[in-house]
Symmetry: D2
Subunit: 277 residues, 4 copies
């Protein structure tokens, strides 16, 4: 018996749940979990179905494609472990959290490689036996640097690229190679404090809550679809530096949570929003 | 076109979603929202289906009953406003919150009456034009008091009875009249601090978080199925009295939230737990 | 024995706590609670001291003024109940919460009057026996409307003006009459979603958390010093309307909490930030 | 210039803040931060004072001791890094978090050694260059095992012992060696679910929120003074195993936060409660 996940993203129509689940039933596939969502304002239907049984992918998908309306997207995903490349700069907390969670099995991923524009985290990567590529941006052009990065990342054919506090902005060329495959952690409660130094901005505005946002990277800085967010309270005792320190825990837990949702195939991108089933 | 909600609670079996949604489809009923949950450890299936269309209840339920396994429970609930009786003692915050939310339409209920064992809240009830029954427990036996309460409450044939800080324990006889129909707010994060004076207990234990729990009332004190809970942080600056004051906001929002879930027919009772769809 | 609160806001200097508490001691005033904060980046000292004893305000303040550095501000505030005027538009939840909390003593304030640019909430005000002034903005100029508002509010000589979902922007002239005396609730987690329709903005951005912000009103829209904020989680199931509905509870609790802090004389304004002691 | 922290814990009396801060002033010690708390119900005064200057400990403490009431405790603590021994069983998340936070400087501690009753975490310790002692409890008596543990831990003369999911109960003899020096993480929101398998207990009770509690270890199981707690929401979708998985993040952040407070000398033990300044 195998486990697979069926993701359906299609125009809404009457009888969709019935049609899809009928096909599962006909193929003797047991529905372990099922979640659906209809965006009534856009008449779009989303369904995530965890299936168990003996799969004939070809005939199953053939039946589905006949039943689904035009313009439908559906994916049948096996339970293979996802391959991840992590990009970092200097800060250890997000990377460290993913490493420990992978070490103890909380995150069921394969970390293929870590790529950093500094070598500060090479030792940490080595401690966990993960290849570390130090690709400095110094002394070369932005385009040259990204070409090196891209070549390095692509050789691992990752399912997802995780920016674990990678502090440089990726160009459209890089982003285009990994559509909805790059997950970033931004150290603010977006859309507050877009851009550089969000904790300094938060301090100056005098907010009483700070946060972190994990999102897919698009070409609009800090504007990609949000996967998850979380916050912590602060008060007048917090300098911008204190906020940055306190924010580390929420950054890493938000990034790890987002990564967990993505590798479990729970995240649909829907315009600039996400549907998480 | 009408809106109704179908609640299905039955032994798990292969093809259930398919069968139920097929029947909806066949009856030309549109599924507006659908949520299901399978408790795999108990092999029990729960589904809540919001339907829209022209209903023939008899034939629809007949078809359903033929399709569902033995031991199934299903209810088709119309969209009539629920009738509520609220029981209180002296504290105004939970009652006040329900009154204001009903006044402004946030809670779509009919408050049939308010029953108090003191008259402290009679004025507040009157301000909102709701009948208030002052049924003092003084000078009469527990059984006499409850007989009076029961008679008063039952004359309103409520869908649900809400204990909005009603500070006396109801007897099994009373509870038996309203199985899973009495919602209580307990001013602690149950199962911590069962029984009397939970804030005093919390203070003495030196907890750093306090909470409130809304649950269905059963014959085991503070042991009924939990509907929802919430918490707030406290610290050494809080006396037991400060905790009680700070806890009011969480009590009232937890009770109102639970009531909202219940009147939207989202809450299944499953053993001593709830499934909320 | 009386209770008073001393608020000190002055340039930082060595020995300040010692000097101030010495003067309290010399005047036989018992310190019930004391909190201080130094903003080291601006070398500014803040202290809030709850005192108990027999006060000779004149000699006590004379001694203080001799001890404090140049440029100091200090206020000695008695324990009289603060007088509040509340301004509203159509929504009941924030007003209702303040009314119920005042009714049951959770907020120890005197609500002198309620002023609305619609009459939707007149009945609710009347239920609680508070004068309601309906001052419509229709058919008159902005300046005429504000002149009427100002005249009405000022006749009550309020300590604070609370905008409990008052949905019009006040002009600089109005704001200037009540410096750091007008408390507003904004229905977003500022600085995200400044301006109109924040829930619609939040929905379109696809955020996973929404919030509310209570702040002092200045002439920069939604830019005044923040008093307190809180948030709640949302997900793809929430339409903008659902967010607005869910946000009501957090709006009202944030506004009531801010009002509680302000009337307890806990809030110092420090540039565009607040220090809460 | 040195930095030291003065902790005062004494019977309340009029003029205490004045007396203590006078002595600081007289010794030309600058107060960088100061926090005090009076437990009025027990007439006990607590103050934490961060001082900067040139210290003559002997004369400073002599002056203090003359000024403070009988029964006072005061400690003047230098800014040396605290030495920690961590005890573990099999789970990596709490240990991993402390290791990464120490690696990147978020926790400013010296991890002297890690002691485990299994060898599951030896590799993780080795990755970070920390000595790991595997002291199995198998094949020996409880007393023999604890004698070995005690000998091993004591050779490092730790300031604090951290139980990072050490799953065995320590005997009174062990605890007595480290009064208020052993910090434990319990995987429930105490006092709910004391003892074994708290997530299983939480699942069975059907709670909607789970949590974790960091506390000092005393001889009463899970009854020691609570340092900090935090919670996360759960629902009917969570099995006991899911709760355990989801709880890991809150366990580790609560333990690390408690450890941070303790090593910053912010935690006073007051009966069975803590005062955190």
């Amino acid at each position: 018996m195998e486990k697979k996940t069926l993701l359906t993203d299609c125009p809404d129509a009457m009888g969709l749940i019935s049609k899809i689940t009928n096909i599962c039933y006909k193929h003797q596939l047991n529905i372990v979990h099922n979640n659906e969502f209809v965006d009534h304002s856009h008449s779009q239907f989303f369904m995530r179905t965890e299936l168990e049984g003996y799969f004939n992918d070809e005939t199953f998908l053939f039946d589905l494609d006949r039943a689904l309306p035009e313009g439908s997207q559906r994916r049948l995903i096996g339970s293979e472990r996802k391959r991840i490349v992590i990009m970092v700069t200097k800060e250890a907390h997000c990377l460290g959290d993913i490493l420990v969670k992978t070490f103890d099995g909380t995150l069921d991923i394969e970390i293929a490689a870590i790529v950093g524009n500094y070598d500060h985290l090479a030792e940490l990567a080595r401690n966990f036996g993960i290849p570390y590529h130090h690709i400095s941006h110094e002394g070369i052009s932005r385009d040259e640097h990204e070409a090196l990065l891209l070549e390095t990342v692509q050789q691992y054919t990752p399912d997802y690229v995780v920016l674990a506090k990678y502090m440089r902005i990726l160009t459209p060329n890089f982003v285009a190679q990994f559509p909805h495959k790059i997950i970033n952690i931004h150290h603010s409660f977006l859309p507050a404090f877009i851009g550089a130094k969000p904790y300094q901005q938060a301090f100056e505005r005098g907010v009483k809550i700070i946060g972190a946002t994990a999102h897919f990277v698009t070409n609009d800085l800090d504007e990609g679809p949000i996967i998850t967010q979380n916050v912590i309270p602060v008060d007048h005792n917090f300098s911008a530096k204190d906020m940055a320190r306190a924010g580390k825990d929420v950054e890493k837990s938000v990034l790890s949570k987002a990564l967990g949702l993505v590798i479990d195939d729970r995240v649909f991108v829907h315009g600039n929003r996400t549907v998480i089933l």
